[in-house]
């Protein structure tokens, strides 16, 4: 029975492939997702249900944040308007299923890039838009200065189903500490439960800790320990098997970082068209025909920079000016400024 089903399936797939080959034009020919996006007129984007600095709804009802900006960049590149995005708030549990089932086409939801997710879940991570690491928040009056002060028997609040939970298990096992995991599906429940005193520590990515700390009843009563117990490269994800769409999302992100490196901002982008630097000319779409190579028009990158801004502008607007991490950018500074933000050349 299943044997025949498989054969029938491959037959259906072959017919479908033949059909797509014969009917469609250049770029859209190769990308079902691109074709559908143009037809619908908006980019279907999966974000978190609310994480300050990454994806959050402001008072006016608009989505804002670092992760939101990635989808806005894709919309600006593909559809010409950064507002043509349909955002879907997804829980950690729903996110991969939603992407696999086609409910969203880009998943930009502070998602850590791991081997298991990349290979086993049929997803493709296109890049990193935030380098994060897992940390701990504790009460200031506890006197704890680092994770070396942790003792067996403590209770730790966190979110379940994320890499956070696995890192925590690994970390505590490596230190030989016994602990009680109090795991919630939603971040705000975990945070409030920690705040009430049920847990001695709250753990998640450090950017998340910083964002959640601002929402706690008395933010000054809590400190984030200096230790970082994991690497958390957060980035946008697409379905495996549509390499044209994958390239579009990847380079929409890359061009924002490249633009910062070469000093192209939303304010000066139009003026940069007369620049003498060939790379800058490629970034603003005057030279090189980069857009055509992606199956888009050549103004794609100019629109991203003018409508969304470069990476630095996005970071300043969402992370620094909101008071989440007002200080230095740490690893998220450009490689030329001592960070690790380094993207392949736009060439």
């Amino acid at each position: 029975m299943f044997k025949y089903l498989k054969q029938l399936t491959s037959l259906v797939a072959m017919v479908a492939v033949l059909f797509t080959f014969t009917t469609e034009t250049m770029a859209a020919k190769k990308s079902k997702t691109l074709k559908n996006t143009i037809k619908k007129g908006f980019v279907m984007c999966g974000v978190s249900q609310g994480l300050a600095g990454f994806s959050n709804v402001d008072a006016a009802g608009n989505w804002e944040g670092m992760d939101v900006d990635v989808c806005r960049a894709v919309a600006a590149a593909v559809l010409g308007d950064s507002n043509k995005v349909k955002f879907t708030g997804l829980s950690a549990k729903e996110r991969f299923t939603a992407l696999n089932a086609g409910q969203v086409d880009v998943l930009s939801r502070n998602t850590t890039w791991t081997l298991t997710r990349d290979a086993d879940l049929n997803l493709t991570f296109v890049g990193v838009n935030f380098y994060d690491g897992q940390g701990f928040m504790v009460r200031k009056d506890s006197g704890m200065k680092s994770t070396a002060d942790f003792k067996s028997g403590m209770a730790v609040c966190t979110n379940i189903g994320t890499t956070t939970e696995l890192n925590l298990a690994d970390f505590m096992a490596s230190k030989g500490l016994e602990y009680k995991l109090v795991g919630f599906e939603k971040a705000d429940e975990a945070r409030d439960t920690y705040g009430a005193g049920r847990c001695d520590a709250y753990t998640t990515d450090k950017s998340g800790l910083a964002a959640q700390r601002t929402v706690l009843a008395n933010p000054d009563d809590h400190i984030i320990l200096p230790d970082t117990i994991s690497k958390e490269p957060l980035g946008p994800v697409v379905r495996q098997g549509d390499s044209v769409w994958e390239d579009i999302v990847r380079w929409s992100l890359n061009v924002m970082i490249e633009a910062e490196e070469y000093g192209v901002t939303s304010a000066n982008a139009d003026m940069m068209k007369t620049s003498k630097n060939p790379t800058v000319l490629k970034i603003v779409g005057v030279e090189g025909g980069m857009g055509e190579k992606l199956g888009l028009d050549n103004d794609w990158s100019l629109r991203i920079i003018k409508q969304v801004g470069n990476y630095g502008e996005s970071y300043k607007r969402n992370i620094q000016d909101t008071g989440i991490l007002p200080g230095s950018r740490g690893p998220n500074a450009l490689w030329t400024n001592g960070g690790i933000l380094y993207v392949p050349p736009l060439r």
């Binding site: 049929n122 506890s142 028997g153 995991l181 795991g183 001695d200």
Partner: protein, 378 residues
């Protein structure tokens, strides 16, 4: 023939529908390069679970994690059913009390807890009621019981050779059944009555405690001891720690379901004709005999079927655990494990099958119990 054709057509239709969904899932999964299979159950789960009735660590398999979740579900469902039945019996009878205060109090309990959504009650217990409890270092405790925001810490028993004690207990239970049947036969033959209840209790106490008297099984009481974790926080080590997640789920489930059982009990008792009691009294039965031999057997016939439904509801409602971090099968398996593996179809199907099995087991047991009390017409 006329009867077979429609049945055959229905059967074919059912097969077609199942076939369509299987085919559909198969095509779509292979289109997305997804595989179907249960082999992930053998992989290491690599996450921790708050509390577990069996040995579990991060090196255990997903199958083991499933078992931990299942046992936690059964634990809260079982204890919830017992307490809800107790509440239901108490308040159901109290509602018929001629005492104004008791009667109104029972009425208030039923109307209040029955008419609020269960999830809201659960949130009340977890996020409101249990949040105002003191921190471990702030509490004095009561006879070595410490009720804190982190857990309820109680003394526990540490057993030596517990298994011998348990074997004797099982033996005692079997013996009770045999003795009961034997005494009933004597009663039917000779008309003599024995105090069966007292004899049973005596057997249940004496036989297991033989192992304690002869020192084969021993137990010590372990008390929770305070341990400082940092300048401002502490915990208790040793003894038994009952987490607030369990307490709130247990309270919400049993208080809510108890109201429905109370109404069933009231309906059962009120459903019996006054003439039955009067007739029983007129043939010389005393009050206890009237209750045991006339009223209760008939009332139970009315009470059991709807109460079975309430037991099933309580068990299924226990899946609300996911909202308050109680590690039941939904949170651990259909939550964490699903997210870590991405095997949605496999995990959801196992979870559905699990609840179906639990519910059917309860139904079968209650149907058997119901049959015992049903009218046998001659």
């Amino acid at each position: 023939m006329k009867k077979i054709i429609p049945q055959l057509l229905t059967l074919i239709l059912i097969f077609l529908i199942i076939g369509f969904f299987t085919f559909n899932a198969n095509v779509n999964m292979s289109n997305r390069g997804m595989e179907f299979g249960y082999s992930f159950l053998k992989r290491a789960a690599s996450f921790d679970i708050q509390f577990s009735l069996i040995e579990y660590s991060r090196e255990s398999t997903y199958a083991r994690a499933y078992l931990v979740g299942l046992l936690n579900t059964l634990l809260v469902a079982f204890s919830g059913i017992i307490f809800a039945t107790f509440l239901g019996l108490f308040f159901g009878i109290a509602r018929l009390s001629p005492n104004f205060l008791i009667n109104r109090f029972a009425g208030f309990y039923v109307e209040f807890f029955r008419n609020l959504p269960l999830l809201l009650q659960l949130f009340f217990w977890y996020y409101a009621a249990l949040r105002v409890l003191p921190l471990p270092h702030e509490t004095e405790g009561f006879n070595n019981f410490y009720l804190t925001i982190k857990s309820l810490y109680t003394p526990s028993l540490v057993w030596q050779n517990l298994n011998i004690f348990l074997y004797l207990l099982i033996f005692a239970i079997l013996l009770v059944f045999i003795v009961k049947n034997y005494l009933k036969k004597i009663q039917e033959k000779e008309g003599r009555q024995y105090p069966i209840v007292y004899i049973s209790i005596l057997i249940l106490i004496i036989i297991p405690s033989l192992s304690l008297i002869f020192g084969i099984s021993t137990f010590e009481v372990e008390y929770p001891v305070y341990k400082q974790l940092s300048k401002s926080s502490g915990t208790f080590i040793g003894g038994l720690a009952i987490p607030p997640e369990f307490i709130s789920l247990f309270l919400a489930l049993s208080l809510y379901t108890g109201t429905f059982i109370a109404e069933n009990v009231r309906a059962g008792i009120e459903g019996i004709n006054k003439g039955q009691k009067e007739a029983a009294a007129s043939i010389g039965l005393n009050r206890k005999q009237i209750l045991n031999l006339v009223v209760l057997p008939q009332a139970l016939r009315i009470i059991i079927p709807p109460t079975t439904n309430q037991y099933l509801n309580l068990t299924k409602n226990s899946s609300l655990a996911a909202a308050i971090a109680y590690p039941d099968v939904v949170l651990v398996f259909a939550g964490t494990a699903l997210m870590q593996t991405g095997r949605a179809i496999e995990i959801v199907s196992i979870t559905m099958f699990t609840y179906l099995s639990i519910s059917l087991s309860i139904s079968i047991f209650m149907n058997y119990y119901n049959k015992k009390f049903s009218l046998t017409e001659k």
